[in-house]
Symmetry: C2
Subunit: 132 residues, 2 copies
DNA sequence: CTGGTTGCAAAAGATTTGCAACGGC
DNA sequence: GCCGTTGCAAATCTTTTGCAACCAG
């Protein structure tokens, strides 16, 4: 285990991640942090996003089409993927229900379930009203 | 809508996908189908996997580390991702519970939820026993 | 014949990495 | 000063695509 050292770039990345609800891709994080650090490189953004993910301060959300997305909220919660516009939204569920699911899943499964996350798919509110 | 035409390559890909429970990457599908069609190209494998996914005869499972995986079982079911060895396993849940989740999620959500899928994380049985 | 499909290779997109300079501690 | 971090560019990995030949209907 190597000691972690402070860096202004990493802090800016983390601040941006925690402030937005947009579940940005690495590229979008890069574009925003670039406003404050014009010389920052995409490689640094990737390195720090992975580092934050590894130490549990961010989530990496894989996407079936396109780049992975990142979430500054590392607490257990779920996501909704709009199949029309591609947006990713947070979606909170009753904790009891979530625990029930893990318990129920453990019953017929050979292994240890440590966590779970649900992906919901459909049309988001914006896309539904745009369609009318 | 363009008419779909039979191809031996597509059939071989589909057969392999339906026969395995390994949730293979495109590359692994390629290596297996190559045994029967030595000249098949990776591009053809990708084209057909995407086609099968589009017409609902396969699922594309995005992975946070590495290539997407494909599943020949297109019926709604869930997956377990072993955080130690990276294997992806099927995991079935009570249908009632799944419906409850979608209903419960719809209540506080502005949009239309059409489907959902749960990703479970932890250690698979093999990795647990290997560790002892 | 017509038009979907294939193999090949090049291109595109996303992410990682080697390296020398830099910056925390 | 030591060693983690950065910027840059090149490399790697995954997936898509243009094109001419091919094949199913």
């Amino acid at each position: 285990m190597t000691a972690l050292k402070y860096s202004r770039q990493r802090e800016a990345i983390k601040n941006y991640l925690m402030a937005t609800k947009e579940h940005p891709t690495a590229d979008i994080v890069y574009l925003h942090v670039k406003e404050e650090f014009p010389n920052i490189s995409l490689g640094t953004v990737y390195r720090n996003l992975n580092l934050l993910t590894d130490i549990g301060e961010a989530l990496k959300i894989p996407s079936p089409d396109g780049a992975d997305r990142f979430d500054g909220n590392a607490l257990p919660h779920n996501h909704f993927f709009c199949t029309t516009c591609g947006r990713v939204l947070d979606l909170d569920l009753d904790i009891k229900k979530l625990e029930e699911i893990n318990t129920s899943a453990s019953e017929n499964f050979d292994g240890k379930i440590e966590s779970s996350s649900i992906a919901f798919y459909g049309k988001c509110g914006k896309c539904i009203s745009r369609q009318n």
